[in-house]
Point group: C2
Chain length 199, copies 2
DNA sequence: GCGGTTACAGAACGAACGTTCTATCATGAC
DNA sequence: GTCATGATAGAACGTTCGTTCTGTAACCGC
């Protein structure tokens, strides 16, 4: 009954994620978006309301994809402590292999300090990661992978802080060694909380 | 021989630091600057070249004030390990008491990913902090405050990463507990590297 | 095939940006 | 007091931003 749209909404969202990630919100103009996403201005406004609406949608989409994938990894069957280690190593690998595409969450935290809606979404992402760490570490303690006097909540908050530190230092070329050592110390801190630390 | 200028250059720089810190580079317009700094447009361009020149000057000024103050603190006489602890606690206090004025270095890393000049200055700041940590920790090891098998370089890089993690999470309201726990774990990690960890 | 509906393409809007230009004003040397 | 000099104040430049408007093109049900 009408002309079909010549773009795929989820593909547009994916492309927008990449652009906002690399260039930030202010740094990505509407002409930029329409040119690289294969969607015309009118359709963009019809579909997402305006640029800010698209940005919020992108942040939510990021949460449903990246963040939820991390949570699934942390809650995966097997050793919860090993899941934590795997995720941390994964973050470090991402930070060192793709230094130019920084973490969308980090960009959003810094750029949108006056954007309450965006901040709320981003805060949800950070909280989710922290809770994911905490639950995995609690499970690890219950299963005897961590000592009974370990503090999963404190460890989780510390890991979260360190992970976002890696996320922001990714922006600096030559931070590879810094990030690698940060990961080493994180893993050692976890090791020190196991029942038999040391060899 | 001519009309004297009605502004103080160092005061203008200080004010500009505050504005760039809170609002970022893009988020601070030239009319904003002239209105709040008490300097007219013409004088701003005459003195600093252009907005970008002012920004670079601000970054350098930040380095000479904040960064050098931190380095002095780390190299202060007395216990080098205690100096490290004091600096970390100071960062945490800053992050929790002044959450709205984020770290200028963090803002610059995220915002100016395509600005090579700014990035170079900022990289210098990060490297300086890391080296400051490393030298203090090496001195601590030499003086017996840390075990001989401690790794000052790794610890320094890890601390640096954690500190900038705190810097970016400052942007999120309600990160107080997260930052506090991150500091606790950092201090525990240092404690674990002392000759007699535990009580 | 035809009509109605929706997407597309591009021109055009006002506002804000960084920057430059012009004119006025305040001072020090003589 | 007069003049040269440099700072100040504000209008004005072109560009780019996000957004809206106008017309054209493409599809579906009948």
């Amino acid at each position: 009954m009408a002309r079909p749209r010549s773009f795929d909404e989820s593909q547009v969202l994916e492309g927008a994620v990449a652009m906002f990630r690399e260039q930030g919100y202010e740094g990505t103009s509407v002409p930029d978006l329409t040119a690289k996403l294969g969607i015309c201005r009118q359709s963009l406004y019809k579909t997402f309301g305006d640029k800010h609406g698209l940005y919020l949608k992108v942040l939510e989409n990021w949460g449903q994809q990246e963040v939820d994938a991390n949570l699934e990894l942390l809650a995966a069957p097997g050793s919860p402590l090993e899941n934590v280690r795997t995720l941390i190593r994964g973050f470090a690998a991402m930070a060192t292999t793709c230094p130019n595409e920084g973490c969308l969450t980090v960009t959003a935290m810094v750029e949108t300090r006056a954007d309450a809606e965006a901040l709320a979404i981003v805060e949800g992402h950070v909280d989710s990661l922290e809770q994911g760490f905490r639950m995995a570490l609690e499970k690890a303690r219950e299963e005897g992978e961590l000592r009974s006097d370990a503090r999963p909540d404190r460890l989780a908050r510390s890991l979260t802080t360190a992970v976002y530190g890696m996320g922001v230092l990714t922006r600096l070329p030559g931070s590879g060694p810094r990030i690698a050592d940060a990961v080493s110390v994180m893993l050692e801190t976890l090791e020190a909380a196991t029942p038999h630390p040391g060899r």
